[in-house]
Symmetry: C2
Subunit: 208 residues, 2 copies
Amino acid sequence: MKHFSKEDISKMSSIYRLNMINSCTGYKSANLIGTKSKKGVTNLAVFNSVIHLGSNPPLIGFILRPRTVARHTYENLKDTGGFTINHIHYSQIEDAHHTSAKYQENTSEFDQTKLEEEYKIKIEVPFVKNSPVQLACSYVNEYHIEENDTLMIVGQIEHIFIQNEILEKDGWLQLEKGGIVAINGLEGYALPKHLDRFPYARPNLKQK
Amino acid sequence: MKHFSKEDISKMSSIYRLNMINSCTGYKSANLIGTKSKKGVTNLAVFNSVIHLGSNPPLIGFILRPRTVARHTYENLKDTGGFTINHIHYSQIEDAHHTSAKYQENTSEFDQTKLEEEYKIKIEVPFVKNSPVQLACSYVNEYHIEENDTLMIVGQIEHIFIQNEILEKDGWLQLEKGGIVAINGLEGYALPKHLDRFPYARPNLKQK
Protein backbone atom coordinates (compact mmCIF):
# COMPACT_ATOMS: atom_id res chain seq x y z
CA MET A 1 0.00 0.00 0.00
CA LYS A 2 1.03 3.57 -0.51
CA HIS A 3 1.51 5.57 2.71
CA PHE A 4 1.15 9.32 3.18
CA SER A 5 1.88 10.93 6.55
CA LYS A 6 0.56 14.26 7.80
CA GLU A 7 3.86 15.80 6.67
CA ASP A 8 3.50 14.30 3.19
CA ILE A 9 -0.04 15.66 2.96
CA SER A 10 1.04 19.16 4.01
CA LYS A 11 3.66 19.19 1.25
CA MET A 12 1.32 18.11 -1.58
CA SER A 13 0.29 20.58 -4.27
CA SER A 14 -3.11 22.00 -3.43
CA ILE A 15 -4.86 20.18 -6.32
CA TYR A 16 -3.28 16.81 -5.49
CA ARG A 17 -4.26 17.21 -1.82
CA LEU A 18 -7.78 18.36 -2.74
CA ASN A 19 -8.26 15.26 -4.91
CA MET A 20 -6.90 12.85 -2.30
CA ILE A 21 -8.58 14.25 0.82
CA ASN A 22 -11.94 14.61 -0.89
CA SER A 23 -11.94 11.00 -2.07
CA CYS A 24 -10.25 9.22 0.88
CA THR A 25 -13.33 9.00 3.10
CA GLY A 26 -15.43 6.96 0.65
CA TYR A 27 -18.50 7.45 -1.51
CA LYS A 28 -20.76 10.40 -0.79
CA SER A 29 -24.41 11.20 -1.35
CA ALA A 30 -25.12 13.04 -4.61
CA ASN A 31 -27.70 15.78 -4.20
CA LEU A 32 -28.82 18.97 -5.87
CA ILE A 33 -29.96 21.60 -3.37
CA GLY A 34 -32.57 23.99 -4.77
CA THR A 35 -33.33 27.43 -3.32
CA LYS A 36 -34.90 30.74 -4.35
CA SER A 37 -33.72 34.26 -3.51
CA LYS A 38 -35.93 37.00 -2.09
CA LYS A 39 -35.93 38.53 -5.59
CA GLY A 40 -37.26 35.25 -7.02
CA VAL A 41 -34.06 33.99 -8.71
CA THR A 42 -33.77 30.22 -8.38
CA ASN A 43 -30.48 28.55 -7.50
CA LEU A 44 -29.27 24.98 -7.80
CA ALA A 45 -25.99 23.55 -6.49
CA VAL A 46 -24.52 20.06 -6.21
CA PHE A 47 -23.62 18.82 -2.71
CA ASN A 48 -21.86 15.64 -1.55
CA SER A 49 -22.12 16.22 2.20
CA VAL A 50 -25.78 15.62 3.05
CA ILE A 51 -25.98 13.27 6.03
CA HIS A 52 -28.64 11.71 8.22
CA LEU A 53 -28.83 13.19 11.72
CA GLY A 54 -31.95 11.52 13.10
CA SER A 55 -35.29 9.98 12.16
CA ASN A 56 -37.65 11.41 14.78
CA PRO A 57 -37.76 14.31 14.16
CA PRO A 58 -36.47 13.72 10.61
CA LEU A 59 -33.26 15.78 10.55
CA ILE A 60 -30.49 16.08 7.98
CA GLY A 61 -27.24 18.03 7.89
CA PHE A 62 -24.86 19.32 5.23
CA ILE A 63 -21.61 21.25 5.12
CA LEU A 64 -21.31 24.66 3.52
CA ARG A 65 -18.40 26.96 2.80
CA PRO A 66 -20.08 30.36 3.03
CA ARG A 67 -17.48 32.07 0.85
CA THR A 68 -17.66 29.72 -2.16
CA VAL A 69 -20.21 29.10 -4.87
CA ALA A 70 -22.48 27.70 -2.15
CA ARG A 71 -22.93 31.24 -0.83
CA HIS A 72 -26.14 31.73 -2.84
CA THR A 73 -27.56 28.52 -1.41
CA TYR A 74 -26.80 29.79 2.09
CA GLU A 75 -28.19 33.29 1.59
CA ASN A 76 -31.36 31.96 -0.02
CA LEU A 77 -32.13 29.31 2.57
CA LYS A 78 -31.59 31.82 5.35
CA ASP A 79 -33.81 34.38 3.62
CA THR A 80 -36.67 32.05 2.78
CA GLY A 81 -36.23 29.34 5.43
CA GLY A 82 -36.56 26.53 2.90
CA PHE A 83 -34.62 24.37 0.45
CA THR A 84 -35.07 21.18 -1.54
CA ILE A 85 -32.77 18.15 -1.74
CA ASN A 86 -32.95 16.26 -5.04
CA HIS A 87 -31.22 12.94 -5.75
CA ILE A 88 -29.22 12.82 -8.97
CA HIS A 89 -30.22 10.33 -11.68
CA TYR A 90 -27.38 8.94 -13.79
CA SER A 91 -28.71 10.80 -16.85
CA GLN A 92 -28.31 14.11 -14.97
CA ILE A 93 -24.67 13.92 -13.83
CA GLU A 94 -23.13 16.28 -16.39
CA ASP A 95 -25.67 19.01 -15.71
CA ALA A 96 -25.53 18.35 -11.96
CA HIS A 97 -21.78 18.86 -12.01
CA HIS A 98 -22.13 22.08 -14.01
CA THR A 99 -24.11 23.65 -11.13
CA SER A 100 -20.76 23.95 -9.30
CA ALA A 101 -19.64 26.68 -11.73
CA LYS A 102 -19.55 30.16 -10.23
CA TYR A 103 -22.48 32.11 -11.64
CA GLN A 104 -23.59 35.58 -10.58
CA GLU A 105 -26.53 35.79 -8.21
CA ASN A 106 -28.93 36.97 -10.92
CA THR A 107 -28.27 33.83 -12.98
CA SER A 108 -30.17 30.61 -12.31
CA GLU A 109 -28.37 27.30 -12.83
CA PHE A 110 -31.71 26.04 -14.18
CA ASP A 111 -31.19 28.39 -17.15
CA GLN A 112 -27.61 27.21 -17.71
CA THR A 113 -28.34 23.46 -17.75
CA LYS A 114 -31.03 21.13 -19.05
CA LEU A 115 -32.27 20.62 -15.49
CA GLU A 116 -35.83 21.86 -15.12
CA GLU A 117 -37.64 23.45 -12.20
CA GLU A 118 -40.63 21.65 -10.77
CA TYR A 119 -43.13 23.07 -8.28
CA LYS A 120 -45.52 21.05 -6.16
CA ILE A 121 -48.16 21.60 -3.53
CA LYS A 122 -47.56 25.02 -2.02
CA ILE A 123 -43.77 24.89 -1.82
CA GLU A 124 -42.13 28.00 -3.32
CA VAL A 125 -38.59 26.64 -3.72
CA PRO A 126 -37.92 24.59 -6.86
CA PHE A 127 -37.48 20.84 -7.05
CA VAL A 128 -35.51 19.25 -9.88
CA LYS A 129 -37.84 17.60 -12.39
CA ASN A 130 -37.23 13.85 -12.87
CA SER A 131 -35.12 13.61 -9.74
CA PRO A 132 -36.02 10.16 -8.34
CA VAL A 133 -36.24 11.29 -4.68
CA GLN A 134 -37.08 14.86 -3.68
CA LEU A 135 -37.17 16.35 -0.18
CA ALA A 136 -38.56 19.69 0.93
CA CYS A 137 -36.73 20.90 4.03
CA SER A 138 -36.89 23.79 6.46
CA TYR A 139 -33.86 25.48 7.97
CA VAL A 140 -33.48 24.62 11.67
CA ASN A 141 -30.03 25.67 12.87
CA GLU A 142 -26.38 25.98 11.94
CA TYR A 143 -23.13 25.08 13.68
CA HIS A 144 -19.92 26.91 12.96
CA ILE A 145 -17.01 24.47 12.58
CA GLU A 146 -14.29 26.69 13.95
CA GLU A 147 -11.39 24.47 12.80
CA ASN A 148 -11.84 25.52 9.17
CA ASP A 149 -14.63 28.11 9.13
CA THR A 150 -17.30 25.88 7.59
CA LEU A 151 -20.93 25.57 8.62
CA MET A 152 -23.05 22.54 9.25
CA ILE A 153 -26.62 23.39 8.32
CA VAL A 154 -29.32 21.40 10.13
CA GLY A 155 -32.62 20.98 8.28
CA GLN A 156 -35.90 19.24 9.01
CA ILE A 157 -37.62 17.16 6.33
CA GLU A 158 -41.10 18.54 5.67
CA HIS A 159 -42.10 16.52 2.59
CA ILE A 160 -40.69 13.46 0.80
CA PHE A 161 -41.49 12.56 -2.82
CA ILE A 162 -40.36 9.11 -4.00
CA GLN A 163 -40.72 7.43 -7.38
CA ASN A 164 -43.06 4.49 -6.86
CA GLU A 165 -40.65 1.71 -7.82
CA ILE A 166 -38.01 2.78 -5.28
CA LEU A 167 -40.13 2.41 -2.14
CA GLU A 168 -40.12 -1.00 -0.44
CA LYS A 169 -42.90 -2.29 1.82
CA ASP A 170 -41.01 -1.53 5.03
CA GLY A 171 -40.23 2.10 4.19
CA TRP A 172 -36.72 1.46 2.87
CA LEU A 173 -35.74 3.14 -0.41
CA GLN A 174 -33.91 0.79 -2.81
CA LEU A 175 -31.88 3.53 -4.44
CA GLU A 176 -30.59 1.38 -7.33
CA LYS A 177 -34.15 1.13 -8.67
CA GLY A 178 -34.11 4.91 -9.13
CA GLY A 179 -30.84 5.02 -11.07
CA ILE A 180 -29.41 7.20 -8.29
CA VAL A 181 -25.67 7.94 -8.28
CA ALA A 182 -23.02 8.39 -5.59
CA ILE A 183 -20.07 10.80 -5.69
CA ASN A 184 -16.43 9.72 -5.57
CA GLY A 185 -14.42 12.73 -4.38
CA LEU A 186 -15.44 16.12 -5.75
CA GLU A 187 -16.28 15.32 -9.34
CA GLY A 188 -16.41 11.55 -9.91
CA TYR A 189 -19.86 9.99 -10.35
CA ALA A 190 -20.61 6.29 -9.82
CA LEU A 191 -23.70 4.11 -10.14
CA PRO A 192 -24.13 1.65 -7.26
CA LYS A 193 -25.54 -1.86 -7.67
CA HIS A 194 -27.34 -3.38 -4.69
CA LEU A 195 -25.46 -6.26 -3.06
CA ASP A 196 -27.31 -7.24 0.09
CA ARG A 197 -29.39 -5.99 2.98
CA PHE A 198 -28.92 -7.39 6.46
CA PRO A 199 -31.28 -7.69 9.42
CA TYR A 200 -30.70 -5.79 12.68
CA ALA A 201 -27.43 -7.19 14.07
CA ARG A 202 -27.51 -9.06 17.38
CA PRO A 203 -24.53 -10.41 19.35
CA ASN A 204 -23.41 -13.99 18.67
CA LEU A 205 -24.75 -16.38 21.31
CA LYS A 206 -21.46 -18.22 21.54
CA GLN A 207 -17.94 -16.87 21.40
CA LYS A 208 -16.35 -17.60 18.06
CA MET B 1 -44.55 9.70 -7.12
CA LYS B 2 -45.48 8.84 -3.58
CA HIS B 3 -45.76 11.81 -1.23
CA PHE B 4 -45.26 11.85 2.54
CA SER B 5 -45.79 15.05 4.53
CA LYS B 6 -44.31 15.88 7.93
CA GLU B 7 -47.58 14.70 9.46
CA ASP B 8 -47.42 11.39 7.57
CA ILE B 9 -43.84 10.89 8.77
CA SER B 10 -44.75 11.58 12.39
CA LYS B 11 -47.50 8.92 12.22
CA MET B 12 -45.31 6.17 10.75
CA SER B 13 -44.29 3.17 12.87
CA SER B 14 -40.80 3.73 14.23
CA ILE B 15 -39.24 1.00 12.06
CA TYR B 16 -40.90 2.25 8.86
CA ARG B 17 -39.78 5.82 9.63
CA LEU B 18 -36.24 4.66 10.52
CA ASN B 19 -35.96 2.83 7.19
CA MET B 20 -37.30 5.73 5.13
CA ILE B 21 -35.46 8.62 6.79
CA ASN B 22 -32.14 6.76 6.84
CA SER B 23 -32.32 6.00 3.12
CA CYS B 24 -33.96 9.17 1.75
CA THR B 25 -30.80 11.31 1.63
CA GLY B 26 -28.87 9.02 -0.74
CA TYR B 27 -25.87 6.73 -0.60
CA LYS B 28 -23.50 7.04 2.33
CA SER B 29 -19.82 6.27 2.92
CA ALA B 30 -19.19 2.78 4.35
CA ASN B 31 -16.50 2.81 7.03
CA LEU B 32 -15.33 0.75 9.97
CA ILE B 33 -14.01 2.90 12.81
CA GLY B 34 -11.38 1.16 14.93
CA THR B 35 -10.43 2.19 18.47
CA LYS B 36 -8.80 0.74 21.58
CA SER B 37 -9.81 1.22 25.22
CA LYS B 38 -7.46 2.26 28.02
CA LYS B 39 -7.56 -1.39 29.14
CA GLY B 40 -6.40 -2.49 25.69
CA VAL B 41 -9.70 -3.92 24.36
CA THR B 42 -10.10 -3.16 20.67
CA ASN B 43 -13.41 -1.99 19.23
CA LEU B 44 -14.76 -1.84 15.71
CA ALA B 45 -18.02 -0.26 14.56
CA VAL B 46 -19.62 0.45 11.17
CA PHE B 47 -20.41 4.10 10.36
CA ASN B 48 -22.22 5.66 7.40
CA SER B 49 -21.80 9.31 8.37
CA VAL B 50 -18.13 10.09 7.73
CA ILE B 51 -17.89 13.32 5.72
CA HIS B 52 -15.21 15.57 4.31
CA LEU B 53 -14.82 18.87 6.16
CA GLY B 54 -11.73 20.30 4.54
CA SER B 55 -8.49 19.43 2.76
CA ASN B 56 -5.97 21.79 4.38
CA PRO B 57 -5.78 20.85 7.19
CA PRO B 58 -7.24 17.45 6.26
CA LEU B 59 -10.38 17.25 8.42
CA ILE B 60 -13.23 14.76 8.55
CA GLY B 61 -16.41 14.58 10.61
CA PHE B 62 -18.83 11.88 11.67
CA ILE B 63 -22.02 11.66 13.71
CA LEU B 64 -22.26 9.72 16.94
CA ARG B 65 -25.11 8.83 19.24
CA PRO B 66 -23.30 8.64 22.58
CA ARG B 67 -25.93 6.39 24.15
CA THR B 68 -25.96 3.65 21.50
CA VAL B 69 -23.53 0.93 20.46
CA ALA B 70 -21.21 3.72 19.28
CA ARG B 71 -20.60 4.62 22.93
CA HIS B 72 -17.46 2.45 23.08
CA THR B 73 -16.07 4.18 19.98
CA TYR B 74 -16.66 7.54 21.66
CA GLU B 75 -15.16 6.60 25.03
CA ASN B 76 -12.11 5.05 23.42
CA LEU B 77 -11.34 7.88 21.03
CA LYS B 78 -11.69 10.39 23.85
CA ASP B 79 -9.45 8.31 26.13
CA THR B 80 -6.69 7.63 23.61
CA GLY B 81 -7.12 10.57 21.22
CA GLY B 82 -6.99 8.35 18.14
CA PHE B 83 -9.10 6.23 15.80
CA THR B 84 -8.85 4.59 12.39
CA ILE B 85 -11.26 4.81 9.45
CA ASN B 86 -11.26 1.73 7.20
CA HIS B 87 -13.13 1.46 3.90
CA ILE B 88 -15.26 -1.65 3.50
CA HIS B 89 -14.46 -4.09 0.69
CA TYR B 90 -17.42 -5.96 -0.82
CA SER B 91 -16.16 -9.24 0.65
CA GLN B 92 -16.37 -7.72 4.16
CA ILE B 93 -19.95 -6.45 4.24
CA GLU B 94 -21.52 -9.20 6.35
CA ASP B 95 -18.86 -8.91 9.04
CA ALA B 96 -18.87 -5.12 8.80
CA HIS B 97 -22.60 -5.08 9.45
CA HIS B 98 -22.22 -7.44 12.41
CA THR B 99 -20.08 -4.82 14.22
CA SER B 100 -23.34 -2.92 14.83
CA ALA B 101 -24.44 -5.62 17.33
CA LYS B 102 -24.37 -4.49 20.96
CA TYR B 103 -21.44 -6.21 22.63
CA GLN B 104 -20.15 -5.59 26.14
CA GLU B 105 -17.12 -3.35 26.49
CA ASN B 106 -14.78 -6.25 27.28
CA THR B 107 -15.64 -7.93 23.96
CA SER B 108 -13.84 -6.97 20.75
CA GLU B 109 -15.77 -7.06 17.48
CA PHE B 110 -12.54 -8.38 15.96
CA ASP B 111 -13.08 -11.57 17.99
CA GLN B 112 -16.71 -11.87 16.89
CA THR B 113 -16.13 -11.52 13.14
CA LYS B 114 -13.58 -12.65 10.57
CA LEU B 115 -12.20 -9.10 10.40
CA GLU B 116 -8.59 -8.99 11.54
CA GLU B 117 -6.62 -6.34 13.37
CA GLU B 118 -3.65 -4.82 11.62
CA TYR B 119 -1.00 -2.59 13.22
CA LYS B 120 1.42 -0.36 11.34
CA ILE B 121 4.18 2.12 12.06
CA LYS B 122 3.74 3.23 15.67
CA ILE B 123 -0.03 3.59 15.71
CA GLU B 124 -1.62 1.82 18.68
CA VAL B 125 -5.22 1.69 17.44
CA PRO B 126 -6.11 -1.17 15.09
CA PHE B 127 -6.67 -0.92 11.36
CA VAL B 128 -8.81 -3.49 9.54
CA LYS B 129 -6.64 -5.88 7.53
CA ASN B 130 -7.40 -5.93 3.79
CA SER B 131 -9.38 -2.70 3.97
CA PRO B 132 -8.53 -0.97 0.65
CA VAL B 133 -8.15 2.54 2.17
CA GLN B 134 -7.15 3.11 5.80
CA LEU B 135 -6.87 6.40 7.65
CA ALA B 136 -5.32 7.09 11.05
CA CYS B 137 -6.99 10.10 12.67
CA SER B 138 -6.62 12.19 15.79
CA TYR B 139 -9.53 13.60 17.76
CA VAL B 140 -9.80 17.38 17.31
CA ASN B 141 -13.16 18.58 18.62
CA GLU B 142 -16.84 17.74 18.99
CA TYR B 143 -20.03 19.69 18.39
CA HIS B 144 -23.21 18.88 20.26
CA ILE B 145 -26.21 18.87 17.90
CA GLU B 146 -28.81 20.08 20.36
CA GLU B 147 -31.81 19.28 18.15
CA ASN B 148 -31.47 15.55 18.77
CA ASP B 149 -28.60 15.14 21.24
CA THR B 150 -26.08 13.75 18.75
CA LEU B 151 -22.42 14.68 18.42
CA MET B 152 -20.38 15.58 15.39
CA ILE B 153 -16.82 14.44 15.99
CA VAL B 154 -14.13 16.36 14.10
CA GLY B 155 -10.91 14.46 13.38
CA GLN B 156 -7.68 15.25 11.58
CA ILE B 157 -6.13 12.77 9.16
CA GLU B 158 -2.61 11.83 10.34
CA HIS B 159 -1.83 8.96 7.94
CA ILE B 160 -3.40 7.57 4.76
CA PHE B 161 -2.78 4.06 3.44
CA ILE B 162 -4.08 3.30 -0.07
CA GLN B 163 -3.91 0.12 -2.13
CA ASN B 164 -1.65 0.89 -5.09
CA GLU B 165 -4.20 0.31 -7.86
CA ILE B 166 -6.70 2.83 -6.42
CA LEU B 167 -4.48 5.91 -6.51
CA GLU B 168 -4.53 7.97 -9.72
CA LYS B 169 -1.73 10.25 -10.86
CA ASP B 170 -3.44 13.43 -9.67
CA GLY B 171 -4.13 12.21 -6.14
CA TRP B 172 -7.71 11.10 -6.77
CA LEU B 173 -8.78 7.69 -5.42
CA GLN B 174 -10.75 5.65 -7.96
CA LEU B 175 -12.77 3.79 -5.34
CA GLU B 176 -14.25 1.21 -7.74
CA LYS B 177 -10.76 -0.23 -8.26
CA GLY B 178 -10.67 -1.09 -4.55
CA GLY B 179 -14.01 -2.93 -4.55
CA ILE B 180 -15.25 -0.36 -2.01
CA VAL B 181 -18.94 -0.30 -1.13
CA ALA B 182 -21.48 2.41 -0.29
CA ILE B 183 -24.35 2.14 2.22
CA ASN B 184 -28.02 2.51 1.29
CA GLY B 185 -29.87 3.42 4.50
CA LEU B 186 -28.78 1.65 7.67
CA GLU B 187 -28.13 -1.86 6.45
CA GLY B 188 -28.15 -2.00 2.64
CA TYR B 189 -24.77 -2.38 0.90
CA ALA B 190 -24.13 -1.47 -2.75
CA LEU B 191 -21.12 -1.66 -5.06
CA PRO B 192 -20.67 1.45 -7.21
CA LYS B 193 -19.42 1.40 -10.79
CA HIS B 194 -17.55 4.45 -12.05
CA LEU B 195 -19.47 6.46 -14.66
CA ASP B 196 -17.52 9.64 -15.36
CA ARG B 197 -15.29 12.29 -13.88
CA PHE B 198 -15.66 15.93 -14.86
CA PRO B 199 -13.21 18.83 -14.92
CA TYR B 200 -13.60 21.85 -12.67
CA ALA B 201 -16.84 23.50 -13.78
CA ARG B 202 -16.70 27.00 -15.28
CA PRO B 203 -19.66 29.21 -16.29
CA ASN B 204 -20.92 28.98 -19.87
CA LEU B 205 -19.55 31.82 -22.01
CA LYS B 206 -22.87 32.39 -23.70
CA GLN B 207 -26.35 32.27 -22.25
CA LYS B 208 -28.08 29.07 -23.28
